[in-house]
């Protein structure tokens, strides 16, 4: 469990009733977010969910249709990007190719007519923090992807702003660099204590970085909660299916009293964390919350395929003709057709209403 150490009473960034339409297409529908001072917020969602759009609205790069945006208590809804007290890091780095690294860092400060020695001081500090001192005089073209992204972060850093906006900053990097820079961004946040809003489609980035995650779909926030809560108590089927890899298993059935019945099986719901009611329901169980043995009591399933990942393995099963995945630290090989008995961990499972798709 992650503790919410950074939640304070002071609001750093507030979005109220944000709406955005392009012609007849409504991209954002009544988005409300309140972010505390120093919080790390991740906007998570698939493509077209509106996560980058929200970020662009915060930055002032898009004119919104309705709503208000406050940064540090000031209404910045109609202010220019430079006057909002934000720094932004882009996926494609967006470094000015004709300028040196130093020139890139200094550009915004020069525009603000900052004294030369102050500019030099800030560049020095940012370069130290990000370890880019050695190539301050190089052009962006002479840098690697990771170095470029550091410079891009530096450009936000020198502005000395309260709110950092990251628009999928690691998506263009290879897997190893991405993991490295992820840790560095986390360290940077711990060191600086700025409010950070981070857009990504990568749930690992979201889970590891965020104090709170706002999960978006079709321009609507589905759930805004800590990673632990989003993982253990997803508000609806979409969130449940989006978070976790492999995805949660869903089983259609019927609740009667404290029992969930599907096909010929019956599962005792004792220990379920939620409000039970009789009637049809969908049971959601994560692959890592399913136990198994080769014989004894349990739900019957057959092995179709096994993926070995070294430290763990994923079993693809058939359960009454339906697919079911199971994740286990056990790396024993189970050949196709092996019969297993499953036990579902109900205390960590979720039940959903099939009509509203909400968690019970």
């Amino acid at each position: 469990m992650k503790d919410n150490k950074l939640v304070t009473t002071e609001t750093s960034l507030a979005i109220k009733g944000l709406q955005l339409s392009f012609g007849a297409i409504q991209v954002l529908k009544d988005v409300n977010i309140e972010i505390g001072q120093g919080e790390f917020i991740v906007l998570l969602g698939g493509s077209g969910s509106g996560k980058s759009t929200i970020l662009n609205c915060i930055a002032g790069l898009l004119d919104i249709t309705d709503g208000q945006i406050f940064i540090n208590g000031k209404n910045v809804t109609w202010k220019e990007p430079k006057d909002r007290g934000i720094g932004m890091v882009f996926q494609s780095y967006a470094l000015y190719p004709q300028m040196s690294v130093r020139g890139n860092l200094a550009f915004g400060l020069k525009n603000a007519r900052m004294p030369k020695d102050e500019i030099a001081r800030r560049i020095k500090r940012a370069a130290e923090i990000l370890q880019i001192e050695d190539y301050l005089d190089r052009k962006p073209a002479a840098l690697s992807g990771g170095q470029r992204q550091r410079v891009a972060i530096g450009r936000a850093l020198v502005r000395d702003v309260d709110v950092f906006l990251f628009d999928e900053p690691l998506s263009n990097l290879d897997a190893k660099l991405r993991a490295e820079l992820r840790v560095e961004i986390k360290r940077l946040h711990d060191r600086l204590g700025n409010t950070m809003v981070y857009v990504t489609h990568d749930q690992i980035e979201a889970m590891t970085l965020a104090d709170r995650i706002a999960l978006l779909r079709h321009g609507v926030i589905q759930q805004f909660a800590s990673p632990a809560e989003i993982y253990s108590k997803p508000v609806n089927i979409y969130v449940a299916g989006f978070i976790g890899s492999p995805s949660m298993n869903f089983i259609n059935g019927q609740i009667t009293g404290r029992e969930f019945a599907f096909n010929a099986h019956k599962v005792n719901l004792a220990g379920y964390d939620g409000h039970l009611r009789d009637g049809p329901a969908i049971l959601g169980v994560r692959p890592e919350h399913t136990g198994f043995r080769t014989d004894g009591p349990g739900i019957d399933a057959t092995v179709e395929m096994q993926e070995h990942m070294g430290a763990e393995s994923v079993l693809h099963l058939r359960l009454d003709g339906q697919r079911f995945t199971l994740r286990t630290p056990d790396d024993t090989h189970y050949p196709e057709g092996t019969r297993l008995r499953l036990t579902l961990d109900i205390s960590r499972a979720s039940l959903f209403d099939p009509q509203s798709e909400l968690r019970l």
């Binding site: 662009n56 930055a59 430079k82 882009f90 967006a94 004709q98 550009f107 915004g108 525009n111």
Partner: protein, 298 residues
């Protein structure tokens, strides 16, 4: 061919220079090049001959006695109407027309293209569509209205008027060129510049313009050759003392009185054509690169 297999390779990768394939390719290319160069050759040798030698009719034979007199005459003495001060007046007129037209049209078109690509204002699409329609209407259709327009502005017959016409008629295609180039630059670059506190002009002059050198070279070549070679606008919108070089050349070559001085005509034609040729040779490389950059990114 068989014993090639026994040769031990040494040094750089060997290249076979003469093969039937190369002979055919280069042979064809050389023949075609000669075919296209022949008129130029005829022009050059004729311009270096005296009039009696030209009259002998051997147009392909090199000059027996090389003389530069036709060139001098074409440049400073050839007559058009009552003026007998040669092509140089036309040359300087053309310079005075081309330089400001090229500069102003590219400046405005690049700003247009930048605004259309990056600042999507209301009605931008409509504006662009109208501009594009302009590009597809034949110039001839618009000559008469343009004459009236210039007359009303009091610019008819002046160099300023002609510069204005060239600037306007170059606008659609140049705007298209710049718009596509700027649209192909990453959008995030523009956003980053805005976050860094730059406005419309700041982004244009400090971010976009430095990045648009390749497309500017393309635009310069298109405009210089187009405007330098223009005949129609030059003859319609100016008066004789401001005629550009092309119009004057035509008047020299098409004189109906007196003796046809072929050598002078050839020299005059080469003089007129030399400016676009020089532009091509100097910037040919950049031109190809710019076109390619535009093509791949656009």
């Amino acid at each position: 061919m068989a014993d090639i297999a026994f040769v031990i390779p040494r040094g750089a990768k060997p290249r076979r220079r003469i093969s039937s394939r190369n002979v055919i390719i280069y042979g064809t290319l050389i023949v075609v090049a000669l075919y296209y160069l022949l008129p130029l050759y005829v022009m050059v040798v004729t311009s270096l001959k005296g009039l009696p030698e030209v009259r002998m009719g051997n147009i392909f034979s090199p000059p027996v006695e090389i003389t530069f007199e036709p060139w001098v005459k074409a440049w400073s003495q050839a007559c058009t109407g009552l003026n007998c001060d040669g092509l140089k007046r036309g040359f300087w007129n053309s310079v005075r027309i081309t330089v400001p037209s090229v500069f102003i049209s590219i400046l405005i078109a690049s700003i247009n293209g930048y605004a259309l690509a990056n600042w999507k204002f209301k009605g931008a699409e409509f504006f662009f569509a109208v501009l594009m329609i302009g590009a597809f209407i034949p110039y001839q259709v618009m000559i008469y209205p343009t004459v009236i327009l210039l007359r009303e502005l009091g610019l008819y017959g002046s160099l300023t008027g002609l510069v204005l016409v060239h600037t306007i008629f170059g606008m659609p295609i140049l705007t298209l060129l710049f718009r596509n180039y700027f649209a192909a630059l990453p959008d995030e670059l523009f956003k980053a510049a805005r976050v860094d506190g730059t406005g419309f002009w700041g982004i244009y002059f400090r971010i976009m313009l430095p990045l648009s050198v390749p497309i500017c070279v393309v635009a310069v070549i298109l405009q210089v050759t187009g405007i330098w070679n223009d005949f129609l606008f030059g003859v319609v919108f100016t008066k004789p003392e401001y005629y550009p070089m092309t119009v004057q050349l035509n008047n020299i070559v098409n004189t109906t009185t007196g003796v046809k001085e072929y050598n002078v005509n050839m020299a005059a034609t080469i003089l007129t054509g030399i400016v676009p040729l020089v532009i091509y040779f100097v910037s040919g490389r950049l031109f190809v690169r710019g076109i390619a950059a535009g093509a791949v990114k656009g």
